[in-house]
């Protein structure tokens, strides 16, 4: 009985301390925030292309350098761990818990992300990861919410049999010539993932992207429209240091070849416009 009483007392003490702290913060909101640290929000918009044509799912026909024709039925990818660099070289890392985004071509809203509480200043570069870092990939599900929720947004961007996120999905369909047998059409499926393994190093397809604005983005207290518009060229998933032949390599998932595709898509982003 005395053990229980002790336990109650201990629990109460801790609860009281936490509650007192919460009350103080709640009653005096201004004292909790450093008045010197002025912040604002900043948007990033991803516009999806195939080379110079806007990407429209399931309708437009596109072709690659090998003149293979196809339509696109899915193009999704994860962006995470965003870092912004100021003109003085200092950086701001977006807090990790709010730095995972699943961008889907089929969901226009997902292509525009808003970062909150960004310190005001002059920015010149953005850096981010394509995929989900190994630390987060290894965390229990309770730490993988929002865009990482495999019971929600990320349901089809997750390998159950080999725990880990699919970093990027590109699915295309070949164009069947008139009179051709459409039932014989083999879809082109590229599901790229692999965070490097829990203990022993395995395939690591995490890639980092650095984009220079080539101009300055002044984020002020009064900014309401500050935005970085980024072009994502889905064709570059299949082109670049490795030209992927759709006919001979129609499917790539967790195989060593997937690293070539990750190297390709590391270069699929470019800055379209910086808006103050």
């Amino acid at each position: 009985m005395s053990i229980y009483l002790n336990l109650i007392q201990k629990k109460l003490k801790i609860k009281l301390l936490i509650l007192i702290a919460i009350l103080f913060i709640a009653c005096d909101p201004e004292s909790a925030v450093n008045p010197k640290a002025k912040t604002n929000k900043l948007s990033i918009e991803f516009q999806h292309f195939i080379a110079d044509s806007l990407l429209v799912l399931n309708s437009s026909t596109y072709s690659n350098s090998l003149e293979q024709n196809f339509t696109v039925d899915k193009f999704n990818y994860f962006i995470s761990n965003i870092i912004l660099e100021k003109t003085d070289g200092t950086t701001f890392t977006v807090p990790q818990d709010s730095s995972y985004f699943l961008i889907k071509t089929s969901n226009k809203a997902s292509q525009k992300i808003t970062l909150f509480n960004i310190p005001i200043g002059n920015y010149q570069k953005i850096k981010f990861t394509i995929g989900v870092d190994s630390a987060r990939s290894c965390m229990p599900a309770s730490f993988r919410k929002g865009s990482l929720d495999v019971g929600g947004a990320a349901a089809d961007m997750y390998w159950t049999w080999n725990t880990g996120y699919i970093f990027l999905k590109l699915q295309c369909m070949p164009i069947i010539p008139k009179g051709g047998d459409s039932s014989a059409a083999i879809p082109y499926v590229y599901h790229i993932g692999g965070f490097g393994g829990l203990n022993n190093p395995t395939l690591n397809n995490i890639r980092e992207v650095n984009l220079n604005f080539n101009t300055t983005l002044p984020l002020t207290e009064n900014s309401t429209t500050a935005k970085i518009i980024i072009k994502t060229d889905a064709l570059k998933v299949l082109e670049g240091s490795t030209q992927v032949n759709l006919a001979t390599t129609p499917t790539v998932m967790l195989t060593p070849f997937s690293a070539n595709i990750a190297n390709n898509y590391q270069n699929m982003f470019s800055i379209i416009q910086i808006i103050n």
């Binding site: 629990k11 599900a141 309770s142 019971g151 159950t160």
Partner: protein, 338 residues
């Protein structure tokens, strides 16, 4: 302002007393997870998901409920039966939804808190991320995880249970799997005759079984390491190779070809058939394989090449010992029964 603070504090103080008292009363009869003294440190991170009564009961209900499958016909318990140490008795591979066949033998579920890897190739490394495998596998439960969450949230009993276990107004993937983990982590098997012998009861094993135990410790224990009877590693045990690449499926490494996770041998007597493909029906067949039927291959474990050199009598003595790992209390414990 000051008086408001004092009033709030007083109110919260009262609420805290009430909530603490209630918590202790309901927890009193439920022991929660207890690690046996002679077991190594657990691998499961209990601080992120401690076992509580409400979570365990929710996990148990989910484990035995077809609601996790597409058409309600298959539950976890369909292929993981308690009497077989939560494996699928007498099924080399399991039949799931629409009687479709899987390609691997449903393994036992016991002592999960000490397990580093799940599934035969170890593709899953956290217990919480295991259940999504059978739930979404087209030949097992063939369901979509968001749909499972929707079904659970449209069921008032489940909503109340999630509220009680996790203090959440609705179910989500994390709490679903955490509840299942709480149930599975409670499945501790450590009350076999072997355990009684280790605990000091010298007559718990017969002389023949003790001879078998000594043989086992010399020949088998380096992989099937006591007290969990697994090394949590992957080996090619010289079975005839098929299309299943084993660990290499996960790592893409040639050096992992045809390697499979060392299964625990606790309750091995009641969890036949054996191996990842369930192709051996009896312990006699398994021992014969290790004694003299190791197929050659570049990734075959060096210790097995040429066989273990066991006589027919020695094989039977090892089998006699393996039968002492049967934990009848565990297999019939009503806390875990449907």
């Amino acid at each position: 302002m000051r008086s408001l603070k004092i009033i709030s504090l007083f109110f919260i103080f009262i609420v805290s007393i009430v909530s603490c008292t209630k918590e202790i009363n309901t927890e009193a009869s439920f022991k929660g997870f207890e690690a046996p003294m002679n077991f190594p440190l657990v691998r499961y991170n209990f601080s992120a998901n401690p076992v509580n009564k409400a979570g365990f009961e929710l996990g148990k209900k989910l484990f035995y409920d077809g609601i996790l499958s597409r058409d309600g016909s298959i539950s976890c318990g369909s292929c993981h039966q308690q009497s077989a140490a939560f494996s699928h008795l007498d099924h080399s591979i399991s039949h799931g939804i629409d009687d479709k066949l899987g390609n691997r033998n449903a393994p036992v579920i016991q002592n999960t808190a000490w397990q580093q890897y799940f599934t035969w190739d170890g593709g899953v490394f956290h217990l919480d991320d295991f259940p999504i495998n059978p739930i979404t596998n087209p030949v097992e439960m063939d369901e979509k995880m968001p749909h499972v969450i929707t079904k659970l949230n449209s069921n008032s009993t489940y909503r109340a249970m999630f509220k009680k276990a996790f203090n959440k107004d609705s179910a989500d993937y994390a709490s679903l799997t955490m509840a299942l983990s709480q149930f599975m982590n409670m499945l501790v098997s450590n009350q076999s005759r072997y355990d009684a012998y280790i605990a000091g009861n010298a007559t718990a094993l017969s002389e023949n079984e003790k001879v078998g135990m000594n043989l086992f410790m010399n020949k088998c224990n380096s992989c099937h390491t006591a007290p969990l009877f697994t090394d949590n590693k992957f080996h090619n045990t010289g079975l005839a190779t098929g299309t299943d690449l084993g660990r290499a499926t996960v790592t893409t490494l040639d050096s992992d070809l045809y390697k499979f996770k060392t299964p625990t041998l606790r309750n091995v007597e009641v969890s036949y058939p054996y191996n990842h493909n369930g192709k051996m029906n009896t312990l006699d067949a398994v021992l014969k394989h290790y004694a003299s039927d190791i197929k050659p291959g570049t990734t075959v474990d060096q210790r097995l090449i040429g066989g273990l050199g066991l006589t027919a009598m020695e094989q039977q003595q090892i089998i006699a010992f393996l039968r002492t790992l049967t934990d009848t209390k565990f297999l019939t414990d009503t806390r875990f029964s449907e």
